[in-house]
Symmetry: C2
Subunit: 226 residues, 2 copies
């Protein structure tokens, strides 16, 4: 199941994809995101520009995918791999937090780059959509035949949306003038008066954004299980 069709052909594809990823990121860092044309990336990866577009639907996707990788699939795997006794809401939350806790130093650099351009920021946020399909599958399995498949999709899509909100909040406070971010009130950015200053670490933001969905996940799980 993890190796759908076969071998050699698939590896070449992944190699090409990886080469494009790497080339896109490297060139973007070297020259700045705006000075990189699709033609350049393709050339650096040794393929035609047309082939490039068979792998990525936009120039931003290639750059962003270097930091995104296959995060979506790993989230679903983490949820599916966890112990069965855990609350679904907790399993999902922990899986998301864990997979978004970037350990790589290279990722930091890439994220810094991404925040500098609106198009890249948007592409990065759009990657949350990719969580939905695998998460739908794993949630549907946990709910068994009891829940509708629609329920699983809605919950998965909601989780994806929450993650997006969390990332938006996080990016918003990223590199704020004065550096007041790290020292803001409590995690979650309390509404004080009228305006809001969302702040907090990425894990905090993720947990804060996913928390409101817990009741929905609990209820679905309750209907499914005993």
């Amino acid at each position: 199941m993890t190796t759908p069709p076969s071998g050699l052909r698939e590896r070449k594809k992944q190699a090409t994809r990886e080469a494009l990823r790497a080339a896109a990121l490297r060139l973007a860092v070297e020259r700045g995101p705006d000075r990189v044309r699709v033609e350049d990336i393709a050339e650096a990866a040794g393929v035609s520009p047309r082939t490039y577009n068979n792998y990525f639907a936009s120039r931003e996707q290639a750059i962003v995918s270097a930091v995104t990788a296959d995060r979506e699939a790993r989230i679903a795997a983490a949820v599916a791999g966890g112990p069965a006794g855990v609350r679904l809401a907790d399993a999902v939350t922990d899986a998301v937090v864990e997979q978004y806790t970037s350990t790589g130093e290279r990722e930091r650099e890439a994220l810094l780059l991404i925040t500098t351009r609106t198009a890249l920021r948007d592409a990065f946020l759009d990657t949350t959509d990719g969580i939905e399909p695998p998460l739908t599958a794993v949630i549907a399995e946990r709910l068994g035949g009891a829940g509708t498949r629609t329920t699983a999709r809605v919950l998965a899509a909601s989780v994806a949306a929450a993650v997006r909100v969390a990332l938006e909040n996080w990016l918003r406070g990223w590199r704020r003038p004065g550096g007041g971010v790290e020292t803001a009130e409590a995690a979650g950015g309390l509404d004080a008066g009228g305006l809001v200053v969302p702040a907090g670490s990425l894990p905090d933001q993720l947990r804060a954004a996913l928390a409101p969905l817990a009741p929905a996940l609990d209820a679905a799980e309750r209907r499914a299980g005993p």
Copy 2:
């Protein structure tokens, strides 16, 4: 608040926008969606192609907006306008269902057109994103200062996601060979064996998709209210 800046200038803008909408839809129906270029739409509306792109970021948006109109804002208004005693979940669900119950005959025609092209279908589904901002505002108001603004955003985004799922389900069964759609089991498309046949009227699909989120809305409201 409903009339932000002023008058005449704004009306002209809306007139232009409306002219573009109408022209886009008319031409798409007349010639078929693929035989309409941006240049044609702009010409029919009496503006330059460049101006067209100041109003719509893509060709599909213009066509789709003819059937979408300002549905998002009306949903938020319906939620805000309802009685205060009603459960938030019910207020939202009813508002969404009501605003998506298309009464116009012209809308049917437009939807039929939209389903014929993947690009249009996607653009139509993307309009659900527009629900989030106004819905966030109205939910945040109902939750008062008790809930975080993030909570409101997450809930609004989840509702938008649920609506998207509902529309996807609905479109999937749209014009099915054999017409087995209308007579499928109960609304919601029960999982029977392994595969799924989502079916049901649009209102049914919407309610089925929004139902799983009710617990989350209830919980947030409970924290806010008493």
